[in-house]
């Protein structure tokens, strides 16, 4: 019991002490006591809260505000001295104590540290320690920079801190100044992986345009609006990107980088064609990275008139059996659907795609077979010339499939002379949904394409749930009584397994 009660007591005590400090005495002893307690490492969260309370109130009361009159030395009155002391303590606490919390092991303390620091910054912004001067908005940039440095640590993975920080990015001024500070924090040479992950994580959250709500953190409410210059942020982004692109990337960070690039950055780059080499290099990495690079190249081709030879061969080479077990399977299908949406492609190439996909479907998981079947159907619909894959009225037989799976070039794979036997085979799939999907080759094709978008994200669990929910009144039991553990017909388990 005592153990549980203690922290409550301590936090109460700390708050009480902080109040006492604020209300009457401003006794340095109390503040020192709190700081000492903080140093002891116990009850960090309560201490942080107490410090936050003290400093925010001090800032509100302007107790640390020392008016500086030019060309005049500051009088050494005890009052001023006290202020000076408070200020020093404040700076010390912020830099050493509070910010160090951001590197604490405990996630809770980290988050509390961040929120305390940001709160203090907000109050300092509203009640600056020095005269504002001509600045409309005053954001304590020094402190913000320190916080960002902690967030972009090269030791710890700060995903949760970055998520917390995202909440503050809703304020226009914080967002703007984060952009402004970021170039100076970007490493020029090769940083380590943790740093890159943190950096990209933060970059992913930053947006170029101001928030729609136009909230400002470091100013009194509804005082004045903050002018958000989009050109500045764009310039910063370009500056940053120049550094980032030349870092040494591991596969992991490269993947992350490409995601950020595709989703956030690409639109805002001034000279996106500079990325071409980078994307080309990434394309050769293989796996999901090349897939992402491919998407980038596609955007470049589409928007920026990039001419990339042999792009379809690259796409063709991406269809490997392993692709069904990566997270980016849906993206690949989406992308290839886009690539092959043109009706002006050579038929034998599209046929090669259809045939390769069908081959892959032979050993693919059920949910993917359904996608592939619909995808092939769409290809045939777009390119009526492919109907020869489904209907070859010559009545000839072949001893082996004319399609060459090993050929890297889709144009040379001889797919157009083949037929989609794989789909015929897949009609025997045990899953009724799969078998039905493969049955489209029997009947005349529909006039409208299948909507792949809906089924791209389907998993085996979805199929399971769907099948379980399918209600039919027909209850079919085995009508032949088993002998012991073996069926009358088709018993296999006891043929290969010994139970006794």
């Amino acid at each position: 019991m005592a153990h549980i009660e203690r922290p409550i007591k301590v936090s109460k005590l700390l708050r009480y002490k902080a109040q006492e400090f604020l209300e009457s005495s401003r006794n340095p002893d109390i503040l020192n006591q709190i700081i000492n307690h903080f140093d002891s490492g116990l009850d960090t969260v309560s201490c942080l809260l107490a410090l936050e309370m003290i400093f925010t109130n001090l800032l509100k009361d302007r107790s640390m505000y020392v008016e500086i009159i030019p060309l005049k030395p500051i009088e050494r009155t005890p009052e001023n001295q006290h202020k000076q002391w408070l200020k020093e303590t404040y700076e010390g606490c912020f830099n050493l104590k509070i910010l160090n919390c951001l590197e604490h092991e405990s996630a809770r303390i980290k988050l509390q540290g961040l929120s305390t620091a940001m709160n203090i910054i907000a109050h300092e912004g509203r009640h600056p320690l020095e005269s504002k001067g001509t600045l409309e908005n005053y954001v304590p940039l020094g402190k913000l920079k320190l916080i960002l440095m902690k967030i972009l640590s090269n030791k710890y993975n700060n995903t949760n801190l970055i998520n917390k920080y995202t909440e503050y990015l809703l304020f226009d001024d914080i967002l703007f100044f984060t952009w402004k500070i970021l170039p100076s924090l970007t490493h020029k040479s090769n940083p380590n992986e943790t740093y890159i992950i943190n950096y990209l994580g933060l970059l992913e959250k930053l947006q170029i345009y101001p928030n729609s709500e136009r909230k400002v953190l470091c100013a009194e409410e509804n005082v004045n609006f903050f002018t958000f210059d989009e050109n500045v942020t764009k310039r910063c982004l370009n500056k940053i990107w120049h550094c980032i692109m030349y870092w040494m990337h591991t596969t992991n960070t490269l993947k992350q980088l490409l995601i950020v690039l595709l989703e956030k950055v690409l639109v805002h780059l001034e000279k996106p064609l500079l990325l071409t080499d980078f994307l080309m290099d990434s394309l050769d990495v293989g796996g999901p990275v090349s897939l992402l690079a491919l998407q980038g190249i596609f955007t470049m081709i589409q928007v920026h008139n990039l001419d990339y030879p042999n792009i379809f061969a690259k796409l063709y080479s991406m269809f490997e059996p392993e692709i069904f077990h990566t997270k980016y399977k849906a993206r690949l299908f989406y992308l290839s659907d886009l690539f092959l949406s043109s009706t002006h492609l050579p038929e034998n190439m599209v046929a090669a795609f259809a045939k390769r996909l069908a081959r892959l479907a032979l050993l693919a998981p059920s949910e993917d077979i359904i996608i592939i079947c619909n995808f092939i159907g769409n290809l045939v619909l777009r390119h009526p010339g492919l109907k020869c894959l489904l209907h070859n009225g010559n009545g000839v037989t072949a001893s082996s499939d004319p399609y060459i799976m090993e050929e890297r070039d889709p144009l040379k794979s001889n797919a157009i002379n083949s037929s989609l036997w794989e789909l015929q085979t897949l009609q025997n799939h045990v899953q009724p949904s799969v078998a039905n999907a493969a049955k489209f080759i029997n009947s005349p094709l529909p006039s409208v394409e299948w909507d792949i978008g809906k089924i791209l994200e389907n998993t085996g669990d979805d199929i399971f749930d769907k099948e379980v929910k399918k209600f039919s009144k027909l209850i079919v039991l085995q009508f032949e009584q088993p002998k012991g553990l073996s069926l009358n017909r088709g018993e296999k388990v006891s043929m290969y397994w010994e139970f006794d």
Binding site: T397, S400, P432, K492
Partner: protein
């Protein structure tokens, strides 16, 4: 009736009106009548619009509009209007009339009663009692009583009247002393009258009191009187008590006669029937497999020949048990029951056990048979005799029954075979049938006979059934094994009680099963099912369903916490022995089976979802095997089997392979898939994926070139690689189940796993033989298989490999790929028009249509007509309003013109006056 009357009345009024109209019409101006000229007159045709009076009807219409439309038009755009409700203001009344009318209205209002016929407001009475009071008829003193003694009423009697009236008695009482004055007389008169009234009242009250008293006393007496009568009746009945003869005669009379039944079927016929039934079921299964059948064929009660037999046996046995226990608890009966119990206990188990064990358990059975005691032997001998079914009566005392024996047997069999449900006939029914068959049978105490006959009879009939079954399934059962088996079962069975209640909770079941061997558990379960067969009591079906759920739970518990090989073996043994009864339970309540198994599979899948990378426990395998045993796995879509496929696929696709147990688990799943699809020849890619992964694990990796592995397998994994030659080890045909819990991958395991994979691949290859791209499916497998160092493996594996490899090559060379051809579109037939020929033409075209259609058409026509009419009316309304507006316009123009004229005139006169004035001034 009422309606008709009304109708009549209305019609009378109408006629009167018509007459009046006709009278009016007669006075019509002939110039106003317009006659439509008829071009062609058709006899008998109604002429609707022959003549009319357009002028008059137009005037009428205008008049009507003036009363309806015009006021509305006048009030248009006015939000308010003034209503004068004073009486007599509108009509022209004189002042006095007005006043009178208003006064009358006021009076009427003050006297206003809601309804003149509403009597309830006034209380009607009769002789100082309200009618409602009287209507209760509580007081039975009727008016008649009072009217009877009319002279007792308070009226004056005749003497007095004589004296007092008519000259005040002067005629008689003249000159008497103390002559009473007239006034005195009157007083006397009144006094007398009052006195009489009072007397009257008194007497009346007295009689009332007396009657009430009498009533009360009567009530007390009534009971006594009625009792006496009843007793008398009873005595009468006792006298006429029936004697035995009558009773028996009546019994005979009211007893159900033997019903006419079908001819007895020969064994051949029965076999034929069974065959047909099986063929039908098989056909249905094939239809489902193809996926052509839809849900409309909702025949849920699938039964097979085996099913029928077993159920029958259970049925008869249950009857036996109940009989032996219910009649009495005497020693004699108990012995009998014991015999029954033994024999009963065997029948179904015999069937299943023998068949299942006939393959492998020869030795075991022999061993056990040696252990038997002599007493048991005698019992089996006895049973043997029954089996032979020729002269099984040796044990019976009563020789007279022998004659009837065969008859009965036949009856019984017939019943069995006709319908399972029919077997539910209770004892009496069978007896009556027997009796009707053997009329000549001498009178005997029937119950006694019944008791004696029943056991042997049923056993023998059961045996015949069994024999039939064995004929059908063409299973040759080794009799020795059968004997020993049954003896062993008997021995175990005797130690157990013969009846078991259904467990109320799972813990209850566990308690019953605790510390029992698997044979004992089997017998317990068997007896539980028998004692609580659905045909015996109302809720048994549901309760057995609950028992099934508990058994599933039991299986789950058995297999989820297995640590050592011994447990695993024992539990599998137990599962094996319980299985036939689980199957029976499932057949008894298919809906429940379906639901609970589905729930179990769902639950297991949920558990699995939490850890997708790891194989779940062995219990999942058991349930999947159970599914294949209980349900028809070959269906195109099955509510339980299809989710199981998904489940298996997910496991094979996602789970990582680390230990020997994982490999075995995956191989077991592949075997299950093979079993599921063996009849339907269907395909699950992930099995081939998995098996090729196993092959991949056996390839020694040289390091330079990475051989890609199918995804759940790691490309660099080489757990199954054989490093040294191991030719001495001979892998068995079957892998032992204990490898499911193995951790380390031993050399022996490596070989046997590879061996099994090869065998499974060969099986799958056979399944896929008919597929068009069967070669492509095995592309990967072929690639891997060529890289395995086969020279290190023992001969069995080598030969297996060679066989598979050759067959694969053969498949390749023999393959003939027919190019795909889409189904051709059927050409659309032209629509053909045939002349419409009517047999009888009566000048009209009768549409052939349903009554609803006709009604609808009629309504449509009416609607059209009405719409037309309404439009016409609206048009006329508009014209009317237009006229009104025009008139108003003209009116206002006229007024204005007049005004203008007047003003002009005034101005002219003014001007003229001014002019004259000017002229006058000028002149001056």
């Amino acid at each position: 009736m009422v309606k008709v009357k009304n109708h009549k009345r209305v019609s009378v009024e109408q006629i009167q009106k018509k007459r009046q109209n006709q009278n009016a019409k007669k006075t019509l101006n002939p110039f106003e009548v317009h006659i439509n000229k008829e071009k062609m007159r058709v006899l008998g045709k109604k002429a609707a619009n022959q003549r009319g009076v357009p002028g008059i009807s137009r005037a009428k219409a205008i008049q009507k509009r003036k009363h309806t439309l015009l006021p509305e038009f006048n009030l248009q755009h006015k939000s308010n209007r003034f209503l004068d409700k004073r009486i007599g203001e509108k009509s022209k009344m004189s002042n006095e009339e007005k006043v009178a009318a208003r006064f009358a209205a006021f009076k009427a209002k003050s006297h206003n009663r809601k309804s003149i016929f509403n009597l309830s407001e006034e209380i009607l009475s009769h002789r100082d009692h309200t009618l409602s009071e009287i209507e209760k008829f509580e007081n039975l003193h009727s008016d008649d009583e009072e009217s009877d003694n009319e002279n007792n009423t308070g009226k004056l009697d005749s003497d007095f009247v004589e004296e007092a009236h008519f000259g005040n008695g002067m005629l008689t009482n003249t000159g008497r002393e103390g002559v009473k004055t007239h006034k005195q007389l009157i007083e006397q008169l009144i006094e007398e009258s009052k006195k009489r009234k009072a007397e009257q009242q008194k007497v009346k009250e007295a009689t009332l009191e007396l009657t009430e008293k009498l009533d009360n006393e009567w009530k007390d007496l009534v009971q006594l009187v009625s009792k006496n009568t009843k007793k008398a009746e009873e005595k009468d009945q006792e006298k006429s008590k029936v004697d035995d003869y009558d009773k028996f005669m009546r019994e005979l009379r009211f007893e159900a006669r033997g019903t006419v039944s079908d001819r007895l079927k020969t064994e051949g016929e029965i076999a034929q029937e069974e065959k047909e039934k099986l063929e039908k079921l098989e056909q249905e299964r094939i239809n489902r497999m193809k996926g052509t059948i839809e849900d409309n064929n909702t025949k849920t009660n699938h039964r097979s020949a085996d099913d029928l037999d077993d159920n029958f046996l259970i049925e008869s046995d249950v009857e036996d048990n109940t009989l032996s226990y219910s009649t009495s608890g005497q020693a004699n009966v108990e012995i009998q029951a014991e015999i029954n119990g033994k024999i009963v206990g065997e029948d179904p188990s015999e069937n299943t056990e023998n068949e299942s064990n006939s393959e492998s358990d020869d030795e075991e059975g022999n061993e056990e048979s040696e252990d038997e005691s002599s007493s048991d032997d005698s019992l089996t001998d006895l049973k043997e005799k029954d089996d032979s079914s020729d002269n099984s009566e040796s044990e019976e005392d009563n020789s007279k029954k022998i004659e009837t024996k065969n008859n009965k047997k036949k009856n019984k069999i017939e019943i069995e075979n006709t319908e399972y449900k029919k077997i539910k006939v209770d004892l009496k029914d069978t007896v009556t049938i027997i009796d009707s068959d053997e009329k000549a049978c001498p009178k005997k105490n029937r119950k006694e006979k019944e008791k004696n006959k029943r056991p042997s009879d049923l056993v023998s009939s059961g045996n015949i059934c069994k024999k039939l079954k064995s004929d059908i399934t063409s299973e040759h059962v080794n009799k020795d094994i059968l004997e020993s088996e049954t003896n062993e079962l008997e021995k175990v069975g005797n130690e157990l009680p013969f009846t078991f209640k259904l467990p109320e909770s799972y813990e209850n079941l566990m308690e019953t099963f605790k510390d029992k061997s698997h044979t004992q558990q089997k017998i317990i379960l068997e007896r539980m099912i028998k004692c609580n067969h659905p045909s015996l009591a109302q809720g048994n079906k549901e309760n057995l369903g609950v028992l099934f759920d508990y058994l599933l739970q039991y299986l789950n518990d058995l297999f989820s916490e297995i640590e050592n090989t011994k447990d695993l073996k024992e539990n599998f043994q137990l599962f094996k022995s319980l299985m036939p009864h689980i199957y029976d339970l499932a057949q008894l309540n298919p809906e429940n089976t379906h639901n609970s198994v589905l729930e179990v599979i769902k639950e297991k899948h949920q558990e699995y979802r939490k850890k997708k990378k790891r194989y779940p426990g062995i219990e999942v395998l058991i349930f999947l095997k159970l599914v294949s045993l209980l349900f028809s796995t070959s269906d195109f879509r099955h509510q339980i089997v299809t989710p199981c496929f998904v489940f298996i696929e997910q496991m094979l696709k996602n789970c990582s392979i680390k230990t020997a147990g994982d490999i075995s688990y995956g191989l077991f799943l592949c075997t299950l898939i093979l079993e599921y699809t063996s009849l339907s020849n269907r395909y699950l890619p992930v099995t081939i994926n998995f098996l090729s992964g196993i092959l991949h694990m056996a390839i020694p990796k040289t390091g330079v070139k990475i051989i890609k592995a199918p995804p759940p397998f790691k490309s660099l994994c080489s757990d199954l690689v054989l490093t040294k030659k191991k030719l001495k080890f001979h892998p068995k045909d079957k892998i032992h189940i204990s490898s499911l819990i193995l951790q380390d991958i031993e050399v022996e395991f490596k070989i046997s796993a590879l061996h099994l994979s090869l065998k499974l691949l060969r099986e799958f290859k056979d399944v896929f033989k008919s597929y068009s791209s069967n070669v492509e499916i095995f592309d990967n497998v072929e690639k891997y298989i060529n890289q395995i160092p086969w020279h290190l493996y023992p001969d069995e594996v080598k030969s297996e490999h060679k066989e598979f490899y050759d067959s694969l090559n053969q498949l390749k060379s023999e393959r003939k790929l027919q190019y795909l051809i889409m189904e051709e579109k059927k050409p659309k037939a032209l629509r053909l028009y045939e002349p419409k020929i009517e047999t009888v033409y009566d000048g009209k075209r009768h549409k052939v249509q349903s009554r609803e259609k006709a009604e609808r058409d009629k309504l449509h026509q009416k609607l059209k007509k009405e719409t037309k009419g309404a439009m016409r009316e609206i048009r006329r309304d508009k014209a009317f309003l237009g006229r009104i507006k025009l008139n108003q316009r003209i009116q206002s123009d006229l007024e204005r013109k007049q005004k203008v004229n007047r003003i002009f005139a005034e101005a002219a006169t003014q001007q003229s006056e001014l002019n004259t004035l000017d002229r006058k001034n000028k002149k001056k």
